[in-house]
């Protein structure tokens, strides 16, 4: 089966002030439809660069990005934007809601961009926010919401057009553990609906929720781990080792 998202020999070099920085050095990656993949690694390992390249927000120095088997790294900015509109939802560490727009306006933005009529967009956005538990204050400005609420609004925005791919860049990085767990639960629910999830994180707990964990180190994939269904856990009271 063709992977939904694929990277082949993906490389990216930054050139800030003359000194070349190799952010990615040939990454190969295949993500199947409906998979939940986490990318882990220390900061500066290139994980955000990889995510941005896969989303077409940045252009690779070398290599290919394929969506449903077709190359997208050569598309124009405008075509990439139109592609993201329909197929890719984005969630960030810092929520990145548009501050000039209210919560519900943020959510309906991708709907309007996709050509929905205003009334439909507002209805879908409200329903979605209700499902994610932030339907209570649709007209609130993002700054008036707590971090957890903002991230749920951001998630609603990412899911508004029911994109088949949801990308997350440290989506729980700025949340307390309770809010983080809720957001993680919502991401899992998206996966259960058949959406493909690719999450960059340095939170092992988020990574552990994925089906597959890819470790990135110095711009290279250093390890791939398939995780199994949860095993039963027991407390170590079996023997009296403490005695």
């Amino acid at each position: 089966m063709t992977p939904v998202l694929e990277a082949r020999g993906l490389a990216k070099t930054y050139d800030p002030g003359g000194a070349q920085v190799l952010a990615l050095r040939g990454v190969d990656l295949k993500i199947g439809r409906g998979e939940f993949v986490a990318i882990m690694g220390p900061s500066g390992c290139g994980k955000s660069t990889l995510l941005n390249l896969l989303a077409g927000l940045d252009r690779p120095t070398a290599g290919e990005v394929r969506l449903d088997g077709e190359r997208i790294d050569g598309l124009s900015e405008a075509d990439l934007a139109r592609l993201r509109r329909r197929r890719i939802g984005f969630v960030f560490q810092f929520f990145n809601l548009v501050p000039a727009l209210s919560a519900v306006e943020n959510v309906e933005l991708p709907l309007l961009l996709a050509g929905r009529r205003r009334r439909d967009a507002r209805r879908i956005a409200s329903e979605l926010m209700g499902e994610l538990g932030v339907g209570g204050r649709p007209a609130a400005a993002p700054a008036e919401l707590s971090g957890g609420q903002q991230q749920r609004v951001a998630l609603a925005r990412a899911l508004a057009n029911t994109p088949d791919i949801v990308l997350g860049d440290e989506p729980t990085g700025n949340l307390d553990s309770a809010a983080a767990r809720e957001v993680l639960g919502l991401l899992r629910a998206a996966r259960d609906r058949g959406q493909t999830l690719l999450i960059v994180t340095h939170d092992a707990r988020v990574a552990a929720a994925a089906d597959r964990v890819i470790a990135l180190r110095d711009g290279l994939v250093s390890d791939k781990a398939e995780l199994q269904a949860p095993r039963p856990v027991a407390l170590p009271f079996g023997s009296d080792r403490g005695a």
Binding site: A208, A209, D223, A225, Q228, P230, G238, D240, G242, A243
Partner: protein
Amino acid sequence: MRELFLALLAGRRNYGYELRQALDREFGELLPALNAGQIYSTLSRLERDGLVVGESVAGDSRRKRVYELTEAGRAALARWIETPVPGTRLKDEFFMKLVVVASARLAEPTTLIERQRREYLQSLRDLDALLAANGKGVAAELLVEGAVLHTKADLEWLDLIEQRLQEDPR
């Protein structure tokens, strides 16, 4: 385990199976099946050391015993309560395995580390699944959260070990 039993006996006299029930209440399904033998061997060792005293209840065909703290038992319990649990953990099974296996060149250290990382990630997944399942007590939930945090620390430790190995492959 011994001190746990002392604490459970502090309030009142208890049958062995009552201790078992008390532990069940606090830790729920996290508690593995403790067999009666383990409970009674612990209790008889406590009795041997003079910390508890057991008394057979007449008229019970299964020769049940009721246990009670002695003075020495109370003192031991008080000492245990006053003393914090030791903080320094300089004992890690994986690390000892890594050092020994690597120095004997029985396997590549990175392979060991990767394998262990998967194990820890899987553990996190197991623990999270446990948390997601309902019907646990607060104590059990906190215990699992603690295990999650320790596992995350273990993962970071693996990163550190890996980093050091890269900088300075022995």
